[in-house]
């Protein structure tokens, strides 16, 4: 009997999800990537350069830190995978390093990217500066106003930031604009997608670049606990790239429980939420068949979360499959619970997390882990960028 795989098949399907639902104008672009990404990324010289940059430029391996006071409070063993210590402040750069090297190998002269809160835009502008390649970042006009520091960072790094004025003027529209740019510049441009979303091969490609996160955990956990596998792996999910990275080496190991934490916003049923697994239906967004938030008529709706990085109306196809197959447990956390969990982590461990990441720290009461359980939480980003939100929320 064929075992269920939680990885993408050759056509980029995870169960019924994924694939490449793209207009013909994009076919040559994605086809070029589809045919070459596995071959190029497995070349020894690619791997050598990728690993060297992750080590010397990003600062990998990131530590696996035993959070003793948090563990004491929740009566279980909690480890933090410190992706917040990566250069640029989040896991996002693992993927942009991989994709810029791929773009170079393909002879591309120009990079485009979409960004919501600006984290992926900054990570892309960073690697473009490093490689001396032209960079254009699309960002929703509304987000440009809300995320001024990251806009300034991208500009300092030499990128051009273009406002997406269409639709709801947020992440999904920035993604549409980036895809349109790619349609109009099919030959010289590579599109660096920031999450495990979009048409095949993006979800699989981005997951592979992020898989360095779970790859490192094995030996780190062996050293600390004398075992390679944790009992629980917890990550927040917007599009799902940090979750894909920390789940990757455990996908086909059912003894490791995977926990995906979505943003419930003001409450799953409040009408102001980004809990795609709870509210989404099967549909097509940005070239991928997945779960997405939409009207009965199939129009894509605008999600809400206090964290800009989680308010994507869809979820990567890998995660849609993990949800429907029940391989992962999905929990949604409100703005309020997430903010409290962020504050708690700061107070107990001296680490201020990104608000996206804070959601992942609000699930311990729900999970009821045992005292001897080994729990790894992906501390996917640091909270510097969210200081103003913390200030406003807690009236600091």
């Amino acid at each position: 009997m064929k075992q269920v795989s939680y990885h993408a098949d050759e056509q980029g399907f995870y169960g019924e999800f994924g694939g490449a639902f793209i207009p013909e104008m994009l076919y040559p672009n994605t086809e070029e990537l589809r045919k070459s990404y596995l071959e190029i990324t497995s070349r020894p010289e690619f791997q050598k350069e990728f690993k060297a940059l992750l080590k010397d430029y990003v600062g990998r391996p990131t530590p696996l830190f035993y959070a003793s006071r948090l563990s004491e409070k929740y009566q279980t063993k909690i480890y933090l995978k410190r992706e917040d210590l990566c250069h640029t402040g989040a896991h996002k750069v693992n993927n942009t390093i991989g994709q810029i090297l791929l773009a170079k190998a393909l002879g591309k002269k120009r990079i485009i990217a979409e960004t919501g809160a600006g984290q992926h835009g900054v990570a892309t502008a960073t690697v473009c500066a490093l490689m001396g390649i032209e960079c254009v970042v699309y960002m929703g006009a509304l987000d440009i106003k809300r995320q001024a520091p990251n806009v300034a960072r991208m500009k300092l790094l030499g990128a051009t930031v273009r406002a997406a004025e269409s639709g709801s003027k947020t992440l999904k529209d920035a993604t549409n604009e980036a895809i349109r740019d790619w349609i109009n510049n099919p030959v010289d441009t590579h599109y660096i997608i920031g999450s495990v979303v979009g048409p095949h091969p993006y979800p699989d490609m981005v997951a592979r670049f992020q898989s360095v996160i779970s790859e490192e955990i094995g030996s780190q956990l062996m050293e600390k606990e004398g075992r390679e596998l944790p009992d629980y792996v917890i990550a927040c999910v917007g599009g799902g790239s940090n979750a894909a990275g920390i789940y990757y080496h455990y996908l086909d190991r059912p003894e490791v429980k995977l926990v995906a934490v979505e943003a419930a916003g003001k409450g799953v049923d409040s009408g102001h939420s980004a809990a795609t697994s709870a509210l989404g239906k099967v549909g097509i967004i940005h070239g991928s068949k997945t779960l997405l938030m939409q009207t009965g008529d199939g129009q894509i709706t605008e999600p809400y979360s206090i964290s800009a990085g989680l308010d994507y109306p869809g979820v990567g196809p890998m995660h849609a499959h993990l949800f429907t197959s029940k391989r992962a447990q999905f929990i949604s956390i409100t703005d309020e619970k997430a903010m409290e969990a962020g504050r708690e982590l700061a107070a107990l461990e001296g680490i201020i997390p990104a608000i996206e990441t804070s959601h992942a720290f609000a699930v311990f009461e729900t999970l009821k882990c045992k005292k001897e359980d080994v729990v790894v939480v992906n501390l996917s980003g640091r909270g510097d960028k969210d200081l103003q939100t913390y200030i406003d929320y807690f009236e600091l």
Binding site: G19, P23, Y27, N184, K281, G283, G287, D297, G298, I300
Partner: protein, 257 residues
């Protein structure tokens, strides 16, 4: 579905117009169709608006956003088009994106299209392979011709595969672009038109994207069976309203006066 084939057979330099349903006002849809037919248009693509139209430029996206704000939906469009064949005898094609069709239910959608008298469907983000594997039987059962796009980057081999799956015409995208983007055709465009003409495909091609006036219309139809105008028409409609449709059409194709 024979309506499209007959029109293609009997006409030269066929003019097809794309009109967003529910634009400029929700209930303008049928009046726009009537005016287009009366001014001598040969075929119409009715745009089913979508919130995230990837293949379209700003003009059509804006018209889609307006139409959705006006209250347009798949359900409303089907209601508006009930009995349309009492007035409109030229081929009607629905052009939209796959997600709204998926939510309506592919079979229910096809059934409704057949009942109304729709001849063809264009869904740019439903790729050939998935269409053939999962949906071709359904569309054919309801007599709907699926129309596929090709671009200057589409390989000959893939064009042959698209040809084999096409029953009416192939939508030839003039250049690597979203809708409404180019102004005038270059030698490169013309070389592409000629390359495709020289393939002697068993179904005719109709050119779309970048056709805005009599000159580009004439250039496009020199190598193909017809041409589709979308963004330029929407811009005219926005500026001059439904009453002035005929003047726009006549400016494109004086022979239709």
């Amino acid at each position: 579905m024979m309506r499209i084939q007959k029109t293609l057979k009997n006409k030269e330099a066929l003019l097809s117009i794309y009109a967003t349903a529910g634009y400029p006002q929700l209930n303008d849809t049928v009046e726009v169709l009537k005016q287009l037919q009366a001014s001598g248009v040969d075929m119409i693509e009715i745009g089913l608006p979508f919130s995230d139209p990837l293949a379209d430029g700003p003009t059509i996206q804006e018209s889609s956003t307006t139409a959705l704000e006006n209250g347009m939906s798949t359900e409303v469009l089907f209601k508006q088009l009930e009995g349309i064949r009492e007035h409109i005898h030229i081929p009607l094609i629905i052009m939209g994106y796959f997600n709204p069709v998926l939510q309506y239910g592919v079979e229910a959608f096809c059934q409704k299209c057949q009942a109304i008298g729709i001849d063809g469907i264009i869904l740019p983000d439903l790729p050939l392979e998935i269409y053939q594997r999962e949906y071709q039987d359904i569309f054919e059962r309801y007599g709907l011709s699926m129309i596929f796009l090709i671009t200057p980057q589409t390989s000959d081999e893939r064009i042959r595969a698209i040809e084999a799956a096409s029953s009416s015409f192939i939508y030839m995208v003039s250049s690597a672009s979203t809708t409404g983007k180019v102004n005038g055709f270059s030698d490169e465009n013309r070389a592409y038109f000629k390359r495709i003409a020289d393939m002697h495909l068993k179904v005719p091609t109709v050119v779309g994207f970048g056709i805005a006036d009599a000159e580009t219309f004439q250039q496009a139809t020199a190598f193909s069976k017809g041409a589709i105008i979308g963004s330029a028409f929407i811009r005219h409609l926005k500026q001059h309203g439904v009453e002035q449709i005929a003047s726009f059409i006549h400016s494109l194709k004086p022979s239709h006066v």
